[in-house]
């Protein structure tokens, strides 16, 4: 087994036991990147020099016998909508094709302090708007499990990198499923944390009330290790929670006895593929066999969640993306006649179709005379959906659903049908709307070697429980950690 195939937990132990150096680990991953990147197209920017420097610093600390953080020396990919000081941060948009932030996102400051090794910045759907990673200005990422298929999105680059062994762990962001759906499509563990548990400072905003940064990993324990660093109060993000964080790795005790699992019937409707339903039910049965109890529950407003999501997220996006106007940074139209023309040309040329679609939708729903009919009602619906989840958690510890209604689709298959593309998020958006944590873990593979993901949903701030149950299932499953054969 090559170093790049190992889990962060294993590599962390090997570093301490001096079985390998951080530079060797980084080198192994870069060798893998060199071997497969032209097939996966996971990265927009590679930061080889920074990575080797960071790895070298970890090795020096190790040589001096200094205490190392468990993630020190672990090679990590970063979604390209998370600001990295002095490193290009494009959001996969022409609009930011040359944008180099003079600051780090809070999560990057924390990870740099831990000594993680940054490999590069990964591809995404432009400004995180999309479910296939085909909406990037730069490239289309391929699913490493089967290169004809999409890796999911929007964090498809991060998912593909981890699945292909081009990174050990990665950061994604999730507004409507952008971590969990690609995790599901690529056979990974992906966590969308409770809204407010991870600082959004430095995450280029899409839907501010829904966005959360979260981890990708090939094992639950790796995801827990990374999440441990990500979460916590940040005074720079007013919406970040002041809650104490538990030890997520210590919570992985393998015990699900007495766990009360709820199965929301609306998540297993006719829109969900049979193969997916079957796989999720089989996984639930295995948890039952391990001591959990299972009951059906109902989330009656599930059908409306998609509408509420597209109204709220697009409204916020229309405002968040207004700053990209060609005045200060990023793309500016080369020819224009006056200020208004500069704005119009810059934004017409700088944004892709999907982004423009959502800006227009968001602008419309916030317009005077339409606000009450759309945005206000969507916010009311948001409360109702959250209440329905809360009601379920009165007698369930967590809910289990499919992460996506199907497995990954082929590249180009849904690209001309936005509504079909939006439907890929149907199982994940409720969690964002209600501000809950959601964990996607693999539960089966189809004949085409396409992974099927299952989603664990818990009450706010129940990440420790979700990770514990996910870890328990990983043991039952016989380990998730496989790197795609390419």
């Amino acid at each position: 087994m090559e170093l790049y195939e190992k889990s962060a937990y294993e590599l962390s132990g090997m570093l301490r036991e001096k079985k390998c150096s951080a530079k060797e680990i980084a080198q192994s991953v870069f060798d893998r990147i060199d071997a497969v990147e032209d097939k996966t197209q996971a990265y927009i920017t590679l930061t080889r020099e920074i990575a080797m420097e960071q790895a070298g610093a970890v090795d020096e600390k190790l040589a001096k016998g200094e205490q190392l953080h468990p993630l020190a020396g672990i090679p990590m990919a970063v979604k390209d909508n998370i600001c990295t000081k002095d490193v290009l941060t494009t959001c996969a948009s022409k609009m930011l094709y040359n944008f180099v932030p003079p600051y780090d996102a809070t999560v990057m400051e924390k990870l740099n302090a831990c000594g993680t090794v940054m490999l590069g910045k990964t591809n995404l759907d432009e400004f995180a708007m999309g479910s296939s990673c085909e909406r990037s200005y730069f490239k289309k990422t391929h699913n490493p499990r089967n290169l004809d298929y999409v890796p999911g999105g929007s964090s498809g680059g991060s998912a593909a990198a981890v699945a292909a062994g081009e990174a050990v762990i990665a950061l994604g962001s999730d507004t409507g499923g952008s971590i969990r759906q690609p995790a599901s499509y690529c056979g990974l563990v992906g966590l969308k944390p409770t809204y407010g548990s991870v600082s959004r400072y430095g995450l280029v905003a899409f839907g501010s009330s829904l966005d959360q940064i979260g981890p990708f990993a090939r094992t639950v324990k790796d995801a827990a290790m990374l999440y441990q660093v990500l979460c916590g109060r940040d005074p720079r993000d007013a919406t970040s929670s002041k809650r104490e964080r538990p030890d997520f790795v210590a919570a992985l005790d393998g015990n699900v006895k007495g766990l009360r699992i709820g199965i929301p019937v609306e998540y297993f409707g006719p829109g969900v593929d049979d193969v997916v339903k079957k796989a999720v039910f089989a996984a639930v049965d295995q948890l039952k066999a391990a001591g959990a109890t299972v009951k059906e529950v109902s989330l009656p407003s599930t059908d409306y969640a998609l509408s509420a999501y597209y109204i709220i997220s697009s409204a916020e996006a229309s405002s968040n993306l207004a700053r990209f106007d060609g005045v200060k940074y990023g793309y500016r139209a080369p020819k224009f006649d006056g200020l208004i023309d500069m704005y119009e040309r810059t934004r017409s040329e700088g944004f892709g179709d999907e982004v423009k679609r959502r800006i227009m939708l968001g602008t419309f729903v916030l317009s005077s005379g339409y606000y009450d009919a759309y945005y206000k009602r969507a916010k009311l619906l948001q409360h109702q959906i959250a209440d329905e989840f809360a009601h379920c958690f009165e007698d369930c510890d967590l809910l289990i659903t499919p992460t996506a209604p199907g497995t990954a689709f082929k590249l180009g298959e849904n690209v001309d049908d936005p509504l079909k593309m939006y439907a890929a998020d149907i199982c994940t958006i409720g969690v964002n709307i209600a501000g809950l944590p959601g964990l996607s873990i693999p539960c089966a593979y189809t004949e085409n070697n396409l992974p099927i993901g299952m989603q664990l949903i818990g009450p706010k701030f129940s990440e420790d429980l979700l990770l514990k149950v996910g870890d328990c299932f990983e043991t039952i499953y016989g380990g998730f950690n496989t790197v795609a054969k390419i």
């Binding site: 600001c83 959001c91 430095g202 919406t239 700053r323 606000y371 945005y375």
Partner: protein, 481 residues
């Protein structure tokens, strides 16, 4: 018959708050720094940056709310006002839309010299961030942005359309400015743009009670400009109506140099700001107890102080109004009256020669060495007739910029007033001898030449003669002739 019209004015005042740091980041809140030296990724709205509210801003706004008798919405939110302009780097301004921090208040303004007041409603006070500034430089083909002002905290104070003349508008503006100054929450420097106002003007048929179409005027950069703008715009609207036309709802730009308002945009071009609650910021929740603490911390406010000066010290409205104009001046006066001089005398000196000297040198009281005690010692000398009023002026010029007391200056310069009749008699006699014509005129019935003769005596005594005694002596000596 020409229709009689009444002017209706509503004012929106923006006041920059003088907190140490900006409203959403840790940048210093200062005026006049080097271009783009007081800004950061947050106040310049860089991608991924987030605002966190400076709670001082909320406290300051609540103080103003209390001072203007508002209801305080201790639970309220902040909203985004979306529009594109290069001085607004996020392309939205964080403001408050439907739930302002303070609302339903009022300010009483003085409408005559008898102390009669009129109540002007304050619709709301909300908090928001300022935008940057565009600089125009002929060396460049275009404009340059200075983002230092981005994120400077503002309160917007919106009045009801209760104002009926430019004089009332001026009184209201002065009152708001004085209140801000008393609360020490704004520098109130018009020339630095720390207070700005938008003026809404309409006219209505007298007595009809039915408001006309309102015109908003921008770019009103001083209170005196507001008066000019209101008078001009009201006249313009009346002229339109008298010619049978209609006033259009529009935004006009006031050009103070030319003294005219110019159409900026019509109602059809009105922007849709697409307000919605800012998802990056939490609901503002201020503890009821804290709201009360802020109320209890308020100083005596200018309106109350002015009435007190009129009642307690018998000052005319004119004096009282000027004395309370700023806190420093009023505090000086309050301290001075404790030294036992006549309040009206203190007022006369403060508003007369002291103000003149300060204005000439562009200083404030704090820049001088004048203390209430020193001023009163000087006034006491005049009241006791130990020096003349004129000598007082000389004394003031000295004590205002030095550590010397009035007594010292009087001694040094020999300014003590001479009341010794035997000494003054000699002067009077020689003056009468030197001015036989005036004496003859006086005797002929032109008694008002006495003033001239007293003046000559004053001159001869180098200003030190007691004028009242001199007058007596002049009359006495002439009658002897």
């Amino acid at each position: 018959m020409a229709m009689d019209y009444e002017i209706v004015v509503g004012l929106e005042i923006h006041a920059e708050l003088n907190t140490d740091t900006k409203i959403f980041c840790g940048c210093k809140n200062v005026f006049g720094a080097e271009v783009n030296s007081c800004c950061c990724p947050i106040c310049t709205g860089m991608p991924g940056s987030l605002p966190s509210l400076n709670e001082k801003v909320v406290d300051y706004a609540i103080k103003m709310g209390h001072a203007l008798n508002c209801t305080i919405n201790n639970v309220c939110k902040q909203d985004r006002k979306n529009y594109f302009y290069p001085d607004l780097p996020k392309a939205y301004q964080i403001s408050q839309f439907d739930v302002p921090l303070c609302e339903h208040g009022y300010l009483d303004i003085m409408v005559d010299d008898q102390g009669n007041t009129k109540r002007i409603g304050v619709t709301r006070i909300h908090i928001e961030e300022d935008a940057g500034k565009l600089l125009h430089d002929d060396r460049f083909n275009g404009s340059l942005c200075d983002y230092n002002r981005c994120g400077v905290p503002l309160i917007e104070i919106v009045s009801e359309p209760d104002i009926r003349s430019s004089a009332e508008a001026k009184a209201y503006l002065d009152g708001i400015k004085a209140t801000l100054s008393y609360l020490d929450i704004s520098d109130c420097k018009m020339q630095e743009g720390s207070i700005r106002c938008d003026v809404n003007v309409s006219v209505m048929e007298k007595g009809s009670g039915k408001f006309g179409t309102r015109v908003e005027m921008k770019n009103v950069n001083s209170f005196s400009a507001a008066v000019r703008a209101i008078d001009y715009e009201a006249q313009r609207q009346m002229d339109v109506l008298r010619k049978g036309g209609t006033v259009d709802q529009e935004t006009r730009r006031w050009d103070d140099m030319k003294g005219v308002s110019i159409m900026m945009r019509s109602k059809e071009d009105a922007q849709d700001y697409r307000y919605f609650p800012d998802p990056d910021l939490l609901t503002i929740v201020v503890d009821e107890e804290h709201v009360k603490e802020l109320k209890d911390s308020l100083p005596e406010l200018p309106g109350h102080r002015m009435l007190r000066y009129m009642k307690e010290f018998g000052l005319p409205h004119f004096d009282a109004n000027l004395l309370v104009e700023n806190k420093e001046k009023a505090a000086f006066f309050d301290e001075a009256v404790q030294f036992g001089c006549q309040p009206k005398n203190i007022s006369n000196w403060m508003l007369g020669d002291v103000s003149r000297i300060l204005n000439e040198k562009n200083l404030t009281l704090a820049d001088t060495k004048l203390t209430p005690k020193k001023l009163c010692e000087m006034i006491a000398l005049i009241e006791k007739k130990e020096i003349s009023n004129n000598a007082g002026k000389t004394v003031l010029e000295e004590i205002i910029f030095s550590d010397k007391t009035a007594d010292q200056v009087v001694k040094e310069k020999g300014l003590a007033q001479i009341s010794d009749s035997s000494f003054l008699e000699g002067i009077v006699k020689s003056v009468l001898e030197a001015n036989p014509k005036a004496v003859a005129d006086y005797k002929g019935g032109k008694t008002n030449v006495a003033g001239f003769l007293v003046g000559q005596c004053m001159r001869a005594s180098k200003g030190q003669g007691n004028p009242a005694i001199l007058k007596e002596l002049v009359e006495k000596e002439i009658s002897k002739l």
